[in-house]
């Protein structure tokens, strides 16, 4: 039995919140202990797990922001303003507008077209920098975009505004037909694991249970990815209709949309969209709740996500059992990434095949943004035609694809196909393109720091090895640590950390330990 199960009996809560929401709402530890029937140690354990429960200002240390022109100047300026130092946050999903800042409640970026130097010079004692409200640029390199169907320029039908959902968007066939369509479409999860969606649904549908749950995983933690934020903010009804379709297919009556704390606007948009869809009677009897994250990368792992929703430390669970057998509160649960659900919405209503993938492109490109491509498209074409080629004056050296557990692709290999098989580690499709300004050693250190900071510590190999990566003084030392991670880690985090580092070793080995 786990800590929260004690609380569970008192608050088998969907909307009534839990220790995490209490802490986020500002209750003191002893108040939370009293409200949730927890001991002080349990509350301390939860508080210390989620970094954004601390509402201080932070600078974004996502890959795009860290290596953006002007990032050093920004940090220097922040050091002047905050002599006590300032925390970091790992990716605010504004990679295309880097470098970004977290005020504690909102995301701040340089105004479009404005130089970072001018932006930071403008900050006065009383003039607060303004939010980023500009839309995310969207491009389709496919004749029939699926995910960005409502968002690309010239879309035949624009996305429904959150408060005014279109009934046709929720006009879904019955559950069996949805499952068959998703199966026929060959859809694989877009969150990173690329698991066949229909197989997961079938397992949940066939597990005998009194209740079932479906969860939209909006904990898009990979630095460099912003497609989920884009969808949640700009096309929430596509996501919600996919969620309802999923619930119908697996016969679930309860659904959760989990939105990471770094995306406050997405959370607000989704809440409005849920309310509007419910008011319009469009949710088909599915009870949908939005749950806010609190800042922890590992929670993107589906079983850690369930722990977080139940109000505990977001550490991955032991598998088996898989969520489809025993998930939220022990009920069969399907967790799907936001982008996947947007695809489900289209597939369920049109029966189309799932042949595209959205890349979130940022870094040293001329026109960063979301680019939907057919699977199999060469990466270079996406970067050149979709993102406008190199930023002026920039020469590409490599790209981090699929986030810090993804791949490092050297520029010489940019002809690789965007495909789950040709590029294992494609993951959620974030692409941060780097140029000569970023050395392989600097990228390696970024990855080492990320691994150390975001390991949950639940299993020994990951907890112990990630902290030593930065200390490795030569390749053999580094290899030993990577071996331990790859061999012993409990979840995809520790198993994935070595992947881009091995790419760096393979392509830039001599530059890592000069």
């Amino acid at each position: 039995m786990r800590l929260g199960d004690w609380a569970r009996r008192r608050a088998h809560v969907r909307d009534a919140g839990n220790a995490i929401t209490d802490l986020a709402a500002g209750f003191a530890d002893d108040e939370v202990a009293e409200r949730r029937g927890l001991r002080p140690a349990g509350v301390a354990g939860i508080r210390s797990f989620y970094e954004l429960l601390d509402r201080g200002a932070r600078v974004c240390d996502g890959t795009a922001c860290r290596f953006a022109p002007g990032a050093d100047a920004l940090r220097a300026r922040l050091a002047e303003l905050e002599p006590g130092g300032i925390g970091v946050v790992r990716c605010l999903g504004h990679c295309y507008a880097a470098p970004a800042l977290w005020s504690g409640r909102r995301v701040l970026v340089p105004p479009p077209g404005e130089d970072v130097q001018r932006w930071i010079e403008d900050w006065g004692a009383d003039a607060e920098p303004h939010d980023d409200l500009a839309p995310i640029p969207c491009v389709a390199l496919t004749p029939a975009p699926m995910i960005l169907r409502h968002l690309v320029p010239g879309a035949t039908r624009p996305a429904s505004p959150p408060a005014r959902p279109s009934a046709s968007e929720y006009d879904l066939p019955e559950g069996g037909a949805i499952l068959a369509a998703v199966d026929a479409a060959g859809l694989r999860g877009r969150g990173g694991a690329a698991f066949p969606t229909a197989a997961k649904w079938r397992a949940a549908r066939e597990t005998v249970a009194a209740e079932r749950w479906v969860v939209a995983n909006g904990d898009e933690g990979d630095p460099g990815a912003f497609i989920d934020r884009l969808l949640l903010e700009a096309d929430p009804h596509a996501v919600l209709s996919g969620l309802v379709a999923c619930a119908r297919a697996v016969r679930a009556r309860h659904a959760v949309v989990y939105v990471r704390a770094e995306y406050p606007r997405a959370l607000e948009t989704v809440r409005r969209a849920i309310a509007a869809a419910a008011d319009g009677g469009l949710l088909g009897g599915v009870e949908v709740t939005a749950v806010a994250g609190a800042g922890a990368y590992v929670v993107g792992e589906e079983t850690a996500l369930l722990e977080a929703i139940e109000g505990r430390r977001g550490e991955p669970r032991v598998k088996p059992p898989y969520p489809a057998q025993s998930g939220l509160w022990g009920a069969p649960t399907v967790v799907q990434n936001v982008e996947t659900l947007a695809a489900v919405s289209a597939i369920a209503r049109t029966g189309r095949a799932a042949r595209t993938k959205v890349l979130s492109v940022s870094g040293a490109v001329a026109r960063p943004g979301a680019v939907e491509v057919d699977l199999g498209t060469p990466l270079r074409r996406a970067l050149v035609e979709g993102a406008g080629g190199p930023r002026s004056g920039s020469r590409w050296t490599m790209a981090l694809v699929g986030g810090p557990l993804g791949r490092v692709v050297p520029a010489t290999d940019f002809d690789v196909a965007v495909d789950f098989n040709a590029l294992p580690g494609l993951g959620h499709g974030g692409v941060v393109v780097l140029d000569e300004r970023t050395s392989p050693r600097a990228l390696a250190e970024h990855l080492f720091e990320f691994a150390r900071a975001e390991s949950c510590g639940s299993c020994a190999p990951c907890r112990l090895a990630t902290r030593r990566l930065l200390e490795a003084r030569d390749l053999p030392q580094l290899e030993r640590l990577l071996d331990v991670l790859e061999t012993g880690s409990r979840c995809g985090f520790g198993l994935g950390v070595p992947r881009p580092i091995r790419d760096l070793v393979a392509h830039f080995g001599r530059e890592l330990f000069p």
């Binding site: 039995m1 786990r2 800590l3 199960d5 004690w6 009996r9 029937g37 927890l38 001991r39 002080p40 140690a41 349990g42 509350v43 301390a44 354990g45 210390s48 797990f49 970094e51 922890a296 430390r313 032991v318 598998k319 088996p320 150390r452 900071a453 975001e454 390991s455 949950c456 510590g457 639940s458 299993c459 020994a460 190999p461 990951c462 907890r463 112990l464 090895a465 990630t466 902290r467 030593r468 200390e471 030993r480 071996d483 331990v484 061999t487 012993g488 880690s489 409990r490």
Partner: protein
């Protein structure tokens, strides 16, 4: 088949078993720091990786699959383990099993890399537990044990990733909610969590390397759960106690008393020589002189002798004691302390079912859909059972608690019926009325296996929750909610305690509890039944062994001529036919002069019986008071002869726990000085009074019991190895009987009883000069008269009795937390410190009775259960004032 390192073994029958289980079954040694029986596999340490079909997987969390090929040693695994070990040593300095394993792997840390210990890593504030997180590798066994075994949630992991560590929250560990069960210490493989006993054991080993070390399995001598202990001794010194990992009763778990409260064994206060009163003063004497004095006096006083056996002593000692009283001294005036606790349970259940003992087993707690806890606080009084109930509730079993106090279980309950002390009968009737009225009665069971239904149903229908709400203090809607939960589940289990029995209508209330079970057909099948929580280690056994005035061993009435003849033939002595006097009548007879000699086997009548001053005056009238004791008590002060007795770790025999399980008690150390086992003392007394016993050994006495008591026919030392046997054991080789009444009730059909409310004279809520209802009971750290638990570290956990009083009652009396208070009744006055708390409802106060200076039983009175004479400890009208 599964192949492990080339050896082929059958796949486990239980498909849920892991590769780790299979490897261990195949004899392969796998390092697994965070895998532990009783805890869910967690996969934290990742030390148990093995190769399965070519892939490296953790053995603990990987299900064993038929056809798998497992290799536990490969060059790759060796390399991985060395590297992982080096990383572990770079973080911590584990000792114990982990330290040894890492050394065996050849793992070496670069010592310079170890970060300095963060502040707060070492805590030595607790009376028993010791924490040094520098040794911790974060296997989390302690955290998971605290959650999954004890259900206490004191420990947690704080921080993330590299900064993770174990925490107990802010402040000193001694100030945490830890209940000192010590399970985390037993589970810790690194020495990061340890205890004073382990530290002392290590010191003893260093100091006396030549002293022989022994580990002996025995049965705990505190409450009636009957936990199995692994007692470790160095020389003649009991140094440490652990739970027996695979024991049926406790599965390795123990409580603060069973694990730690053994300081009394070697305490200087122990009685080590016989004491004989000369010229008004108790003075040391030889055994011969003491025995001769007793024999001479008993000869003089023959015909005016009574005896009190002890629910703390073994079956064999109890049996021999009553044999002596009946066959040797010619009286049935023999009783035991069951009289003051569970006599009403035995009486009421016997009336309903035909057998006065638990219908099921402790294991039924895991099978039940709903547990109804009536008048019991097992979290403190039967902690290992309490922990099992907490776990059952956390797993989803429904929990309904009937108790005036908001106990730990009440906090966790689905429904807590906060009954007014003394109003159990109307509340239990009200619950039954809902079951009848709303159609929850199990018609087929009732028709085929019970009697008295029609009249009962008509009677109980009248007792609606609405009718009794005012008297019971429980809102009718709550009663209905509880009844519906009870009525809806397939397997309701009822456990009850002294909050039921120690009342004017104690036996009546037990019959009403039986009615509830019968209404749902919930007797005689797994996960259901009526299981009284026995308060003392052998209260079941003392009654089984005939330490009751009207019943011979095996519950045959002394009035039964054939049974008497059987015992008379076996003993070669006359067995008196007139039922004797129960305890309270013995005391009355002493006052009247009809009884002039009393032999007491280890009971502190003065401290623990009600109306202390009256008891003391009564005992003073005796011409001979013989007390067999381990410590000086309030009662030995009045004795003419005190005989020093061995304690539970110093003798052989058997105890019978609350689920009728007869288990072995084994000698671990020798008694101090000239102290002797009660068995030998009684045998010597028998010899001195003219009835020598040829085989005064526990095993021989048990064989004699087996030959005379049909339910014990298959019981012997040899048959009890391991987990013992649950009686009845009708023949040698019989596996025992976990569930009674499965095929039929001992009395044929079970009987519904119609019982109306007869308020106790003490039941006068809110009126009179003594407006508060006093309830007495136990607290976690102490046990009954406290002679054992007050001598050791438990005193540091709880150093005095406390009076729990509601703020609303405390304020008008000017009583604040920690104030000294006087509790006054019609009988006397007790003194304690106030604990102002909403755990008790307004109008009710609670006082423990563990410290003689408190004199809790100076206050309690003479009201008794009508059927059995069990005192009403749970209701005394009192007034409380500061001072």
């Amino acid at each position: 088949m599964i192949t492990v390192d080339g050896r082929t073994i059958a796949p486990p029958a239980d498909g849920a078993r892991s590769v780790l289980h299979v490897c261990r079954a195949a004899g392969a040694e796998i390092p697994a720091f965070c895998a532990r029986d009783g805890l869910a596999p967690a996969g934290h340490c990742r030390a148990c990786l093995v190769e399965v079909d070519g892939a490296l997987v953790p053995a603990c969390t990987t299900p064993a699959r038929d056809g798998a090929v497992v290799r536990t040693r490969t060059p790759r695994l060796d390399g991985y383990r060395r590297a992982l070990g080096a990383l572990m040593l770079g973080e911590a300095a584990p000792q114990g099993a982990v330290g040894a394993a890492l050394a065996a792997w050849g793992a070496e840390a670069e010592a310079a890399r170890r970060p300095p210990a963060p502040p707060g890593s070492i805590d030595r504030t607790h009376p028993y537990l010791r924490i040094d997180l520098e040794k911790c590798i974060l296997c989390r066994n302690c955290v998971r044990t605290c959650e999954e075994v004890q259900g206490c949630f004191v420990l947690a992991v704080t921080g993330r990733g590299a900064s993770s560590r174990i925490t107990w929250g802010p402040g000193a560990f001694a100030d945490s909610a830890c209940v000192a069960c010590g399970a985390c210490v037993a589970a810790c493989p690194t020495g990061a969590l340890t205890d004073v006993d382990r530290e002392r054991e290590a010191a003893e080993r260093r100091a006396r390397p030549e002293a022989p070390a022994r580990t002996v399995r025995t049965t705990c001598g505190y409450c009636g759960v009957g936990c199995q202990l692994e007692a470790h001794a160095i020389g003649n010194d009991l140094v440490r106690i652990d739970g027996v990992a695979d024991a049926a009763v406790n599965r390795g778990h123990l409580c603060v008393k069973g694990r730690y409260a053994h300081g009394w064994v070697r305490h200087p206060d122990r009685l080590t020589t016989p004491l004989v009163r000369r010229d008004g003063v108790l003075a040391p004497a030889t055994w011969d002189a003491a025995l001769a004095r007793v024999a001479a006096e008993l000869a003089r006083l023959r015909g005016a002798v009574a005896g009190l056996a002890s629910a703390r002593c073994t079956n064999e000692e109890n049996y021999l004691f009553q044999k002596w009283l009946r066959g040797g001294l010619g009286t049935n005036d023999v009783d035991c302390c069951a009289r003051v606790c569970h006599a009403p349970s035995a009486h009421g259940m016997r009336a309903a079912f035909g057998t006065g003992a638990a219908t099921g087993s402790l294991d039924d707690l895991e099978r039940a859909d709903l547990i109804l806890v009536v008048g019991a606080n097992p979290t403190e009084a039967h902690p290992v059972t309490g922990a099992r109930i907490v776990q059952a509730a956390l797993r989803g079993a429904k929990l309904v608690v009937i108790d005036p106090r908001r106990t730990a279980l009440a906090e966790l309950a689905d429904v807590h019926l906060r009954v007014r002390p003394g109003a159990n009968v109307p509340l239990l009737n009200a619950l039954a009325s809902v079951l009848v009225e709303e159609g929850y009665a199990a018609r087929a069971f009732i028709a085929s296996r019970t009697e008295g239904w029609e009249a009962y149903a008509a009677f109980v229908r009248e007792h609606t929750p609405e009718r009794w709400a005012e008297v019971t203090g429980v809102p009718a809607a709550e009663v209905r909610r509880a009844a519906r939960l009870f009525g809806l589940v397939a397997r309701p289990l009822i456990v009850h305690g002294l909050g039921v029995t120690e009342h004017r209508q104690g036996s009546d209330a037990v019959e009403l509890i039986c009615n509830l079970a019968l209404l749902r057909g919930a007797v005689g099948r797994p996960g259901a039944g009526v299981n009284p929580l026995r308060g003392q280690n052998n209260v079941q056994g003392a009654a089984d062994m005939g330490c009751q005035p009207d019943l011979l061993p095996g519950y045959v009435p002394v009035s039964d001529a054939a049974a008497r003849a059987r015992f008379a033939a076996a003993w070669g002595r006359f067995v008196p036919s007139t039922p004797g006097r129960p305890l309270h009548e013995i005391l009355a007879a002493i006052r009247e002069g009809a009884i002039r000699a009393l032999i007491v086997q280890g009971e502190d009548l003065v401290q623990t019986d009600p109306n202390r001053d009256h008891v003391r005056e009564t005992l003073r009238r005796l011409e001979l008071l013989v007390v067999l004791e381990t410590f000086p008590t309030e009662t030995t002060k009045l004795a003419h002869v005190v005989l020093p007795a061995a304690g539970v770790f110093e003798k052989d025999g058997t105890f019978t726990n609350g689920e009728r399980r007869v288990q072995r008690v084994r000698r671990v150390v020798d008694p101090p000085g000239e102290a002797r086992a009660d068995l030998h003392i009684v045998a010597d007394l028998m010899a001195a009074t003219g009835w020598p016993q040829p085989h005064a050994r526990a095993d021989a006495v048990l064989d004699e019991i087996a030959s005379l008591v049909p339910a014990f026919a298959g019981v012997s030392f040899a048959a009890l190895e391991g987990d013992g046997l649950q009686w009845p054991v009708p023949a040698p080789g019989h596996p025992g009987t976990p569930i009674l009444h499965a095929d039929g009730f001992a009395r044929g059909r079970a009987r519904f009883h119609r019982v109306d409310f007869v308020p106790s004279p003490s039941f006068a809520p809110g009126v009179s000069a003594r407006p508060l209802a006093l309830v007495t009971g136990r607290v976690l750290a102490h046990y009954n008269g406290g002679s054992m638990t007050r001598r050791g570290g438990n005193l540091a956990l709880e150093d005095a009795d406390r009076l729990e009083i509601h703020p609303r009652d405390a304020a008008p009396r000017g009583v604040a937390e920690g104030d000294g208070v006087r509790v006054r009744s019609a009988h006397g006055e007790a003194r304690a410190r106030a604990r102002v708390t909403t755990r008790v409802p307004p109008g009710t106060v609670f006082l423990s009775f563990h410290f003689p200076e408190t004199a809790a039983n100076a206050v309690t009175g003479d009201v008794r259960d009508a059927a059995t004479g069990c005192p009403e400890y749970k209701l005394t009208p009192v007034e409380v004032e500061r001072g």
